[in-house]
Amino acid sequence: MSSPKNLSTLKDVATQYLRDAVGRQDAEFRDGQWESIAQAVSGHRVLVVQRTGWGKTMVYTIATRLRREEGAGPSLMISPLVALMRNQELAAESLNLTARRMTSDNYDDWADIYEELESDDVDILMITPERLANTTFFSRVLSKIKLGIGMLIIDEAHCISDWGHDFRPDYQRIRRIQKLIPEGAAIVATTATANNRVVEDVQKELGGDIPVTRGSLIRHSLKLHNLRLADPRERLAWLAEWIPRLPGSGIIYVLTRKDADLVAEWLESQKIDAQAYYGNAGERDKLERALLANELKVLVATIALGMGFDKKDLTFVIHYQRPGSVVHYYQQVGRAGRGVEKAYGFLMWGNEDEQIADYFLDNAFPSQDEINQVLEVLEDVEGGLTVPEIMFQINLKGSRIEKILKLASLESPAPVIYEMGAWVATGEAEGFEIAQEKIERLRKIRNREKEQMREYMDHKGCLMAFLQRALDDKNVAECGKCGNCRKIPNQFYQPKAELVLEAEHFMGKRKIFIYPNQKWPASNLSEHEIHESETIKPEYRAKWGFVLCRAFDGNLGDRILRERRLQNQYSDEVVSAFIAMIKKRVSKFQFITYVPPHEGKKHIPLLAEAVANELDLNLITTASRTGIGERQSAQKNPVQRARNAAEAFVIDYSVEAPTILIDDLIVSGWTLTTLAAQLRYDGCHAVLPAALVKRTLSE
C-alpha cells in the first residue's frame, strides 16, 4: 500500500501516535515494533513472537490507524482471549480508534456493532475463533464491512501449528483462511509463547519467508519455587500460612472447579480474601475487576482465567496442581511480575493431578469408532439432528458428541455441517476417516509435554533457565533468584502441623449438596407420567439433598469407594459420619427409605437401617428393581442414564409422609431423581436425597 520512500515519514507519524498513546513525548519504538508495523502497513504478513507486555498491541493498533488513514477497511482481530480484548478496547481508544468485540458475554451489544460496522465506525473488530463457525459471521459481520477487512490480526498464532502447546480446533480454519487470502493482504500474527519448531511451522504456514520479530522471554522480576507437597492437606495448609505473608495479590491455579471451590472456601475460612473463579461470564468479569482493583487477595481459578488477563502489579501465581505443559506453566506464572520488581511463582502438585492430566489426554481426541457412530446416525436421516437427538440414539456423552461434531465439521471438505440449527451430514460423511496419524502425532506431543513438565518439577538447576530453554530463548542465564538457585531446602516449605490438621478437619466438614434436577435430558423417557413433559413438574421433584464427601479426596471419599468395592457393608466410622451429617442437616423427617440395591448387595439397606435405628426414623422399603436396564455406570450420556433409570424401579409401597432417600454413591443423580419422582407421583409429600459419596462423571 505504501511505497518505501514515504515509510520514513510514516515512521515519524507512527512514533507520534505511540507517544500520544503512552503519554510520554520521549517514547520510542522497541526493537521490532516499527519493523512489524511497516510490514503490515505495506500490505505484507508478519509474525511477532514476543512475551506478553512487550507491546504487540501497539503494533497492530498503530498499523490499523495508519491503514485506516489511507482508506482501508477495519482490522479484524481473532483471539481466544476475551480478557485481552477489554484491554485492547482501551489501547485503541488511546489512539482515537474504536475497537469492538463480539464475544459470548456481550450479545446485547451485537446489534449496535452491526450498525457501526455498516457505517464504517469500527476500526478494530475483535472476535473469538469460535465465532467463525457461526453462519451469522458471514451474513451479519463480513457482509457489513463495505470496504472489506483491511488487516487481519491473528492472536495466539502458535495455535496455527500442530506443534503448538494448545490445540484449538478452530485455528485449523484460520490456518486455511490465511492460506486462501490472495497476496497483498496485511496480516499480523502474534504469539507470546512458541519454541523454534512452532515458530518455523507458523512461518511456513503463513507463507514461507515472512519476517519474524522475536525477543527474549525472560521475566526478571519472577522468583520461581517448586514445592514438594503431595498431600492436599499440606498444600492447603501452606497456602493458609504463606498467602498472608505475600505482598500484593495473586492467582492460584487449580485444575477443576471442584478444587477451585475447595481452595477458595478453605482460604475464606482462614480469613483470606479469596474467591473461586469460574461460572458465568458476568460473574467472572466481576471477579476479574475485583482482583484488578486489589479488592481481593487471591483468585482461585481454573484455566478459564485466560491468558489475556493482564494485571501489571500481580505479585504471585501459585499452582495448586501442575499444568499440562511447561509452556502453559510459563504462560500462567508469567502473569505475575509484569509491572512490579518482585514477584513469585510457586508450583505445587499432588497425586491427583497426574490422574486428571491422563484423563484429559485420553479424552482429547475421539476414536474413529465414535466418529463413525455419530456420522452413521446423521447419514441415515433426512435433514439433520440436534445433539440431544443424537444422544437419544447413541450411547456417548453429549460433550463427546459435540466434540466429534466440532472436529469433523472443521475438516475440509467437512463430513458434517451445522446448518440452520441442526447437524447435517454432507456427501463426505460416508466413509469419512479422521486423520489418525495426525491425532497420534498430537498425542505424542502432549505426552512429551507431560514428560517435560515432570522434568521441570524434578529439576535441580535454575528453574527460569529451564523455562527459557524449553521455549528456545536465545539468552538463557541462571536467574540467581529461584528456589533452586538459592538452594532452599524442601523442609523450608513444610507447613505448620496444626494448620495441616485444621485443613484435614475442614475437608471433612464441607457441605456437598445434591441439586434436584429440574428437567429430564429428553422427553418420553418412559410411559410413566413423570416423564410426560421434559420439565420435571415441581410436584415430582426432590428436595435439595446432601452428600457426605467427594470421591478421591485423599480421605473418607477414597475409603468409602474402597469399602463399597471390597466389603459387604460400610465400616462403623463411615456409618457414624453419615449419621452425624444427617442429624445435623435434616430435621422433621420421620421416614427413611433407600435405593433398592443390585442383587446380592446389602450396603445400602444396612446403611439405611443403621441411620433409622440411630435417629429413630421409620425405615420402609418402598421400591424394588424391575431388572430392566443395565448398570448405570455403563451409560455414557444423560439421556442414556436417565432412560436407563426410568424403567429400573417399581414402587411397591407408597408413603405420604416426607421421606429421606438413601443411596451410597451418586454420580449423575438420575437414579435419585427418578426414584424421587416416582415416590412423589405415588403421593409422597417430600423426598430428601442423601448419599455417602459423590463422584463426578470424569472421575
Partner: protein
C-alpha cells in the same frame, strides 16, 4: 487442482463475486469485466496482475471503470479469504473463465456472456460426458413432469447424464428421477447449491460421483433472479441433445429456457414434447427446426440414446426401429413423491430471517428439527393446474432434421457416439 485458486481466479472473484452487502462499489457486470479483460489481454497482462497497484490504476483509467471502484473491489481479499475457506469446507469448487478446468462447452457457446466464475459441487468429470438437457418453462402439467421423469430415467439407463435447469417442478422431476434410477445428473441453478446438496438422495449421489450442481453466481450472492439468468443457456451449452418439455400457455419462463433452446437449434439435436395444444414457445422451436415428439413413445426416446453403431449408419426411419421391450426400471423405484415441493428461486440459503432464527432456536432446544426423516425436503412448488387432465398430444407431423455441425464439440466423442447428426424419425 482447484484449491488453492490461481491468482487469476482469485482476482476475478475479487472483481466480480458478490459477497453480500455490496452497495457503494458494486462488483463488475459481465460486460464490464469483458472490457477489463480485453484491455488486460491487449496490454499483455493477466487478470492476476491487477494486484499490482500500477496495473490496476492503468486499467481503471483505460476502461473507465473508476479507480476507486477497482481499488475497493480488489481490497476485499481478506474478506474473500474467509468466504473461500467456507466454500472449500462445503466442498464447492470454483473455476474462473481463464482456468483450464472451465467447461469448454460453456466457454464456447456462451462466449463473452459465459459467467466469469462458475461455482459448483460434485464430480466435474460429469461435465465432459454425454448429456441430455431435459428442460422447460416454469409451469408444466403433471403429464409433462411424468414425461420428464421417464426421459431422465432413460438417460440413466443409457449412461447419459440428464441436465436440469432452475428450480421448478420440472427440474425437480428430472433430478430426482435421474438419481433414483441410478443415473448421473447435472443441475444448473442460480445461487447457492450447498443447501440443496444436503438432501439425503443428493448427498449420496454426489458422494457416488453422480450428481453435479452448478451456478454462475457466488453462494453469497443474495440478489433476486436477474432478468436474463444464464441458467438455461448453461444447461443447453453442456448437453448434446435437448428435450424441451412444453408447458402451459400461461407459464412463465424465468430461466429463459425457450430462448436458450432456440439459440442452440443449430448445434444440438433438439426435441419438443407438448401436452395438449402446443404453446407458442413450442411452435417457435419446432418452426426453428426442433423435432416434435408426438407421444410418450419410449421407443423413439430410446433412439436418443442408441449406440453409435446403429445410428451412425444414418437416416433411420421410425419404422425401421426395432421394437424395444420397455423395462420400466423406474416402476421398481418408489415413484417420486408428490410433495416434492416448493422453494421459490431463493437466496435464503444462508440468510438469517427472523423465522430461521426461530427454527434455529427450536432445533437447538431439541424440540423441533428442520426436516423429519421420511418427510421429503420441500424443494419445489406445486404449480396450480398441475392436476389438470392430460390431453392427448396432437400430432404435428414429424420432420427430419439435418445433422447439426458439431465441430464445436469435435473434441468430445459424445456427439459422435450418440450420432446426433442423424435424423431420428
Amino acid at each position: 487442482m482447484i484449491w488453492p485458486l490461481s491468482d487469476d481466479t482469485n482476482t476475478v472473484l475479487l472483481l466480480c463475486a458478490w459477497l453480500g452487502g455490496e452497495d457503494v462499489y458494486l462488483p463488475l457486470e459481465i460486460r464490464e469485466y469483458n472490457t477489463l479483460e480485453q484491455w488486460l489481454f491487449q496490454n499483455g497482462y493477466r487478470t492476476g496482475n491487477l494486484i499490482q497497484q500500477s496495473c490496476a490504476e492503468a486499467a481503471a483509467q483505460a476502461t473507465g471503470l473508476g479507480s476507486d471502484r477497482l481499488t475497493a473491489l480488489l481490497s476485499r481479499s481478506i474478506t474473500l479469504g474467509f468466504y473461500l475457506e467456507e466454500w472449500q469446507r462445503k466442498d464447492y469448487w470454483i473455476i474462473g473463465r481463464g482456468d483450464v478446468h472451465y467447461p469448454e462447452r460453456v466457454r464456447q457457446f456462451l462466449q463473452e456472456s459465459a459467467p466469469p466464475v462458475l461455482f459448483g459441487m460434485g464430480d466435474r468429470q460429469l461435465l465432459d460426458q454425454s448429456a441430455t438437457a431435459v428442460i422447460g418453462p416454469d409451469q408444466v402439467m403433471e403429464s409433462a413432469n411424468q414425461h420428464a421423469r421417464e426421459i431422465a430415467e432413460l438417460c440413466a439407463r443409457h449412461d447419459r447424464t440428464a441436465i436440469a435447469a432452475g428450480k421448478q417442478t420440472l427440474s425437480a422431476a428430472v433430478v430426482e428421477s435421474g438419481l433414483l434410477s441410478g443415473g448421473s445428473v447435472i443441475w444448473v441453478i442460480q445461487g447457492p447449491v450447498f443447501g440443496e446438496s444436503l438432501r439425503k438422495l443428493f448427498r449420496r449421489a454426489k458422494a457416488a460421483g453422480k450428481f453435479l450442481m452448478l451456478s454462475g453466481r457466488s453462494p453469497a450472492d443474495r440478489r433476486p433472479l436477474p432478468q436474463e439468468p444464464e441458467v438455461g443457456r448453461i444447461a443447453v451449452a453442456l448437453c448434446d441433445s435437448v428435450m424441451y418439455v412444453d408447458g402451459t400457455e400461461l407459464s412463465g419462463d424465468r430461466y429463459c429456457v425457450e430462448d436458450a433452446v432456440y439459440s442452440v437449434l443449430e448445434q444440438r439435436n433438439c426435441f419438443v414434447r407438448s401436452f395438449g395444444q402446443a404453446t407458442a414457445a413450442a411452435e417457435r422451436l419446432t418452426h426453428g427446426g426442433a423435432n416434435p415428439c408426438i407421444e410418450v413413445e419410449m421407443a423413439i426416446h430410446e433412439e436418443l440414446f442408441e449406440d453409435r453403431a446403429e445410428i451412425i449408419q444414418g437416416e433411420l426411419l421410425e419404422d425401421d426401429h426395432p421394437d424395444h421391450e420397455i423395462e420400466p426400471a423406474y416402476l421398481e423405484i418408489p415413484a417420486p413423491s408428490k410433495d416434492l415441493a416448493s422453494i421459490e428461486e431463493t437466496e435464503e440459503e444462508d440468510c438469517e430471517t427472523e423465522e430461521m432464527a426461530i427454527v434455529e432456536e427450536q432445533a437447538a432446544s431439541g424440540s423441533g428439527k428442520l426436516q423429519q426423516e421420511g418427510i421429503q425436503l420441500d424443494l419445489f412448488e406445486q404449480i396450480p393446474g398441475n392436476d389438470r387432465k392430460d390431453e392427448e398430444g396432437v400430432n404435428t407431423g414429424s420432420s427430419k432434421k439435418e445433422g447439426a455441425d458439431d465441430s464445436d464439440n469435435s473434441s468430445r466423442e459424445s456427439s459422435e457416439e450418440y450420432g446426433i447428426q442423424g435424423s431420428l424419425f
